[in-house]
Symmetry: C2
Subunit: 508 residues, 2 copies
């Protein structure tokens, strides 16, 4: 009796996805641009493993949407179940960012030349609720300087982000780097009457206040005021407990948020007046003044880098300047509402993260590019990001199987000329082969049969032309109409002709 075979269903795990050629080609170009600029600034590459001991990763994720602490964790299979569960090697986890592993590397390799300037591109994994455009596996591109107290390093983070965004095609004025300082903010809270403020303690009254300020964009000034006080009921009726500041305290915090100005010096002056009675607050303003000066030296004005007292950044470990790169150009979102695209980059100074391991304060500052957010912004805002969608440039169709030697020698000749090409290795009619080329997005097809081989000539079919004509008969592409969709070419001018026809496709 034949047993029914149980077959697995081919499926992705929830929140994970496959990425195909078109997206990879665009992302590769973007990442390559970022890499070149990072190296221009003196950052060197580092790679760390996907799996880390959980106690090395620490817990610095914001708590929303993060059951299980927001990380994928599992028991170390090297240890037996009999091992005490509080053994430090017991829990393993997938990294959730690239900063925690960097802190581990620096603590583990005390003899690294300092300042240690490294960049790292890598995937990170977060056990969060997946949603539209929100995945549990995504790329980050981080750059950090460890072992430098100088605000030059912070100013460079801002400058480099400008360079990256402009190299990627964002026009000056369509983006903005917004800078704040956690020490200045802490000073404001102290001046509001709070003593012993620990700005990195997420569970404290201060933590609640920071999270409230972080929501300013979404809930507005009135919403933030409620969250700084008793609390706030949102549209769905859910109540969020507030920070329970009194009115006088709330006024000081709101004055801090209102200190924004187009002039960086002016923001510093306003903040200084607010935090004058706080030592730490004055330190924070001094940091901002230095960053302002270094940015001016480097040639980055407030049209590109602005001081913005409402920026707090989610992560708990920041201790000084914090930055955010936002695309200010407006988009129309899925609900038809016009809004700014928002944040594509974030970072700041975290002088205590390495200390977790070593007990010694180690200054560190840097940032992280939201690779997928930035890609989305490029797709939405840059009409001319259209890159080739297929890496193969030429398909050689097979009409006559008795001439395979000719097809393969032709293929070898085309490849030797540096043209990405393939012979059709599947089975099917010439129609099916053309359909294959079309569906893959291959721009050119060579058609040849016995006659062509005997006469030393080939047919070239220009599929890209058809695609462009179908997509857009604009003035710009008017000349395309003069191109023939199919032409006969002599064997000895084939390579030249292919390169000529591909020139436009390659420069896309």
């Amino acid at each position: 009796m034949a047993e029914k075979i149980k077959r697995p269903k081919a499926r992705n795990y929830k929140g994970f996805k496959d990425t195909f050629a078109e997206d990879i080609i665009l992302r590769r170009k973007m990442i390559e641009t970022i890499r070149v600029i990072c190296e221009r600034y003196g950052f060197s590459p580092l790679e760390t493993p996907a799996i880390e001991y959980v106690d090395c990763l620490g817990k610095f994720l914001p708590e929303e949407h993060t059951p299980e602490g927001g990380i994928f964790s599992f028991k170390n299979p090297d240890l037996s179940e009999a091992t005490r569960a509080d053994h430090p090697d017991w829990w393993l986890g997938l990294r959730y960012d690239l900063t925690a592993p960097l802190a581990r590397v620096v603590a583990q390799n005390q003899d690294l030349p300092k300042p240690f300037r490294r960049y790292q591109l890598g995937q990170v994994w977060r056990y969060e609720k997946p949603g539209p455009g929100r995945y549990r596996e995504f790329y980050q591109f981080d750059f950090d300087t460890v072992g430098a107290t100088s605000m030059i390093a912070d100013a460079e983070s801002c400058a480099m982000t400008c360079d990256i965004l402009e190299a990627l095609g964002f026009v000056r004025g369509d983006y903005l780097i917004q800078v704040n300082d956690r020490k200045a903010l802490q000073g404001a809270l102290e001046c509001a009457g709070l003593s012993e403020v620990d700005i990195t303690d997420e569970s404290s009254q201060v933590g609640v206040a920071l999270r409230a300020i972080d929501k300013l964009d979404r809930i507005g000034r009135a919403g933030v005021t409620e969250l700084l006080g008793k609390g706030r009921k949102d549209a769905s009726g859910d109540f969020t407990e507030g920070a329970n500041f009194n009115t006088k305290q709330i006024d000081v915090i709101l004055a801090y948020l209102d200190a924004r100005s187009d002039s960086r010096t002016e923001v510093c002056n306003r903040l200084e007046a607010l935090v004058a009675d706080s030592k730490i607050g004055c330190e924070g303003v001094e940091e901002l003044r230095q960053i302002d000066g270094f940015l001016t030296d480097l040639g980055y004005g407030s049209d590109r880098v602005r001081f913005e007292p409402t920026v707090v950044r989610g992560l708990g470990y920041y201790t000084g300047p914090v930055f955010e790169g936002v695309i200010t150009k407006e988009i129309v979102d899925e609900k038809g509402k016009t809004r700014n695209f928002g944040s594509v980059f974030g970072g700041g100074r975290y002088d205590t993260l390495v200390q977790r391991f070593t007990g010694q304060k180690t200054p560190a500052t840097g940032g992280s590019v939201g690779v997928d957010r930035l890609l989305a912004a490029m797709r939405l805002l840059q009409a001319d990001t259209a890159l080739p969608t297929c890496t193969t440039e030429v398909l050689i169709t097979v009409m006559d199987k008795s001439r395979l030697t000719d097809y393969l020698q032709l293929l070898q000749k085309v490849r030797a000329a540096g043209i990405n090409s393939e012979v059709f290795v599947g089975s099917g009619s010439i129609g099916k082969q053309l359909q294959y080329a079309d569906r893959r997005g291959i721009p050119l097809v060579i058609i040849a049969g016995s006659d062509e081989f005997d006469n030393g000539e080939y047919q070239i079919k220009d599929l890209e032309l058809g695609r462009r004509l179908a997509a857009d008969i604009s003035d710009r592409d008017e000349w395309l109409k003069g191109r023939p969709s199919q032409q006969t070419v002599a064997a000895d001018s084939l390579i030249e002709k292919l390169n000529e026809l591909l020139a436009d496709y390659r420069s896309k």
Copy 2:
């Protein structure tokens, strides 16, 4: 009373490692070379997630050193403990290769244009016993053609591997692609008197035989003969149970292994004589004959691709031609023994892997580059793989903190010229700054103080020169001795001078 703070120890998980600039720079160059050639052959990029449902991954790893089936697996945190443990979504695992995920992608996206030619670079994770040079996380670079029965695809795998190895600097004659065919081997086993041979069943008598043949290099012909018979006791006294073939059967298998020849046609003739009575065996020989023909058409003779009946490949899923790329150049190993470097590439045809999901036979063939093995081979065998070990080209030292504006404007000028550079953002004397540049491997240092800025000139210190002189005062580097280790340069010829001094470093 002060509580003692418990700090985590900064450490890597067993079998995992961090990778620093020097290794990443070399690997990046290698991978980029492989990528360009893959695209030249018509393969397009694909990326799949790190985490998969375990039932989608299947179990195709050889069983040695693989507790827990050789994969890192964990329970799906989306499901409650109350869910039945036999729920197909219950177990998640990290991918252990890139072929199983490819089969899943093809089964899941039935409308992909076929043949589907994709390459993928990615890390894979194996829960194995780590050892020297043997890690639990490593890169693979795979290329595969799904949906083509044509042996052109298999011939191309061999041809492309030759192209890759030569592009990476391996000289013709120092490497060899060795090809065998599982069907031909199956035919030999049938002719030896075994009926209903399932060559993909690892636990069968045939599986034991294949594993024995796979060890030929290590244990020699006599050892294989023992393993094909009753079994073999190794040097340590451990006994391995044999396949229990009788003498006549063993003779047929040994005759198959002995069929090697420098001529591909001759191997086909010899194998044909051996398997003439087996239908599947003749099919296998016919596949080899076709591959021979296509390779000849493409211009790859037996100095590069040879037929080698002793190649079986470890993985259970191969169904036809199998390939192995070996570096034949001799090395002296850690024990002082001269041996071939061995395998850096493997692949073959696996027509049943997608069938696991769909029930429909889907032809597929491809290969996998052992990225780390190949890197090791390059380091061992190519004296001139020496690439720049640092991405930063110029360090600007800081002697006078009151001139930071001048330093930053100088920095900006050097960067604008496309030179990877940084100003020293740490703290310390000029001596400490030079030591930093030296330890990082930065080739050039600019030294400037108030006098230099006022006079419009800079000191350039050539650290790379010192390094080369120290490493190797050979004839080749004789000219280096004429270079000054430090020189004064006028501001307006600075960029030109830096580029001149960097030319040699960059072309490394």
